[in-house]
Amino acid sequence: MKSIKKITYSTTQLTWLVALRVLIGWYFLYEGMVKLTNPNWSGVAYLLDSEGFLKGFYISLASNPFILKTVDFLNIWGLITIGLGLILGAFSRIAIIAGIILMGLYYFSHPPFIGLKYSLPMEGSYLFVNKILIELAALVVLFVFPTSKEIGLDRFIFSNKKK
């Protein structure tokens, strides 16, 4: 991983990597804000609709009101802080890792595997790969090609280490 830090980008490379980071951040932030401001929102239906080999795990999250509340809270504030982290380039490494974990949790709740059916309507057609998986991969790309110490608040936050 050390070698990653030494990568120097051309302006075009840097611009598009930052654009990708900011766009994904926006997407997270908006999803989080919508959930935060909707008093009726809860992940319960999504969790109960889970399929695949982790189905039991997701349903158990939904069956206990206290755990459900915690999951909802973590989900909402996770989305918002990850979104802010990516847009501002603040603590990006942690934000990206958290984002990858969250996307992984989403993916395995509704994996587009053969034979699995969901009540939740899909807005496209998917086999193994869906938008969540692509977003997850995009986050991995951002992890491998970090930009926040170039463009972002991490430039200040980690300035000592840099020098």
Binding site: V22, Y30, N40, V44, A45, S119, I151
Partner: protein, 527 residues
């Protein structure tokens, strides 16, 4: 040299300033994006708010869940008896607080397998109505025993738990009605007994909760009304859907004329299983030795002993009221509650025995059309016992239509006059509900996300919200008990029962006599 040095340091400091400035710009470069986000968020919120306001101007339904039941169950203990402990009778006992221990065993087992199965948990949460069962009656020994076992389960325990004393079993229902340690009776016998038993119970001063339909024949309907009113008892007819919160909202929406001129109401029954078509299992141990056949027949025409007729009595006119009495009555009562229908002016009907050719005499496919010329609308019922195609329950107006189920949805009609401007401006999307209500949701919302709408439609959303799933039959029995305690009238009282029974009879007569049937409102007679 010194000058050179100075120049050098000057150059360096200006360079480092430049670097610092560049540093700052690079560090803060993406902050404007956040500004754009805040601006976009503000614009979007404003847009949604205006949209919601524009729609709510038309709807003007408040966002509060209706308050339905009083809370006076803590009064004196009420002593009940039950006549008919078949599956419906036992579920009424369960709703009253007396569950058979085997059911608890089963719920516990299922909850272990599936954590989302909350039936056991929910049942323990069900309010204690402060009742005691002092008498149980059934003409089939095994059902009577099961009824006794359920009634003695005072602590909602599973098998092996601590039970109370078993209530007395009465072989003859009249003896139960004469018992002086019983205040109120639940009647869950076959249809051909409802009227007779209600009349006798009323005459003995017992309050009555009767399963639907209220009566089996037209003449006894008048007698039931007379007996209930003369003896001043609290009578509740078993249309438990009366307690459904969405019906209260539907009524409110109708009152506010959101639908415009209502012209057609469509209600349906869609079932597709032997059980749904009343082909129930016949227990192996059942036989003439443990069934009081003579008492079962009662007011019905005589027939030799038949297990099929005993356990699947809904399939024969001799004991049943068919689709009209058994299933249409629920639909009618829902609409009567929401629209205050009353008895229709006329009825026609058609149908046949098209799928279940098992010797039954009642149709398995049935259509009935009822006319309300004074209100300028028709009520149409269509039923199939051999297709699960869900057709729902729809009230159609010129400006909007309403789908009433466990939840409530109102869609604007594309040809609406009232909403034309908003349709043209794109403020209202006719493919999405203009208003939706799901019981138990914290807030009623005119606009929700498509996903939310989808789940709401399947009744998935509110199941665990607020932590409670409410059983409507329990609420309906509670309504009856509360009224016994404070001497008021329950929601599905004798007047509602009269309208329900007469409307259902009109449909049945129209079918069986193959003619158009009219209601003479002056004489209060079917002609």
């Amino acid at each position: 040299m010194e000058n050179n040095k100075e120049n050098n340091t000057n150059q360096k400091s200006s360079e480092s300033k430049k670097i610092k400035r560049r540093d700052v710009i690079k560090g803060l470069a993406t902050i404007p994006v956040l500004g754009a986000f805040v601006y976009g968020w503000y614009k979007k919120q404003n847009f949604d708010r205006l949209l919601k306001q524009a729609i709510q101007e038309d709807i003007n339904l408040d966002a509060v869940n209706p308050v339905i039941n009083k809370n006076i169950s803590k009064g004196n203990q009420i002593r009940i008896g039950i006549i008919g402990c078949g599956s419906r009778g036992r579920s009424l006992l369960r709703a009253a607080g007396f569950v058979h221990p085997e059911i608890i065993d089963n719920w516990k087992e299922e909850a272990l397998k599936n954590k989302a199965d909350k039936r056991y948990h929910d049942y323990l949460e069900q309010e204690d109505l402060n009742l005691v069962v002092n008498g149980v009656c059934d003409v089939f020994d095994i059902n009577a025993e099961k009824g006794q076992e359920a009634a003695s389960n005072l602590n909602r325990e599973g098998s092996g738990g601590k039970m109370g004393a078993k209530p007395r079993r009465y072989g003859i229902y009249k003896e139960l009605l004469a018992a002086n340690n019983i205040d109120a009776v639940i009647i869950a016998s076959p249809d051909h007994w409802h009227g007779t038993m209600t009349i006798e119970a009323a005459k003995s001063g017992k309050h009555v909760y009767s399963e639907k339909p209220m009566t089996w024949t037209v003449p006894e309907t008048y007698k039931v009304v007379k007996a209930v009113k003369e003896n001043n008892i609290v009578f509740q007819l078993g249309h438990q859907n009366r307690q459904n919160e969405s019906y209260f909202k539907a009524k409110e929406a109708i009152k506010k004329n959101i639908l415009g001129k209502i012209n057609l109401i469509e209600v349906t029954t869609n079932r597709n299983s032997p059980n749904g078509a009343w082909v129930y299992n016949i227990p192996e141990e059942a036989g003439p030795g443990n069934i009081d056949w003579k008492q079962f027949i009662g007011p019905a025409p005589y027939h030799d002993f038949s297990l099929k007729r005993f356990f699947r009595w809904r399939c024969w006119w001799d004991y049943s009221t068919g689709l009209s009495g058994d299933l249409f009555t629920h639909e009618y009562d829902a609409m009567n509650q929401i629209l205050g229908l009353g008895i229709p002016d006329s009825a026609v009907s058609s149908g046949g025995i098209y799928y279940f050719k098992d010797g039954r005499t009642v149709p398995d496919v049935l259509q009935m059309a009822f006319e309300y010329p004074d209100r300028n609308f028709s009520l149409v019922y269509s039923a199939s016992l051999a297709s699960n195609k869900k057709r729902g329950r729809v009230i159609m107006g010129h400006d909007a239509y309403m789908e009433v189920g466990e939840d409530l949805k109102i869609y604007v009609d594309t040809g609406s006059t009232k909403y034309k401007k908003k349709l043209d401006e794109g403020i209202i999307d006719p493919s999405l509900p203009m208003y939706s209500f799901t019981p138990g949701m914290k807030q009623v919302d005119a606009i929700t996300s498509p996903t939310e709408q989808y789940f709401a439609g399947r009744g998935l959303l509110y199941t665990y919200r607020g932590g409670k799933r409410v059983n409507t039959t329990h609420l309906h029995i509670k309504d009856w008990i509360d009224c016994i305690r404070d001497g008021t009238q329950p929601s599905c009282n004798i007047d509602m029962g009269f309208e329900e029974a007469m409307t259902a009879h009109m449909g049945t007569i129209a079918y069986r006599e193959n003619r158009k049937v009219f209601w003479d409102s002056d004489k209060q007679e079917i002609v």
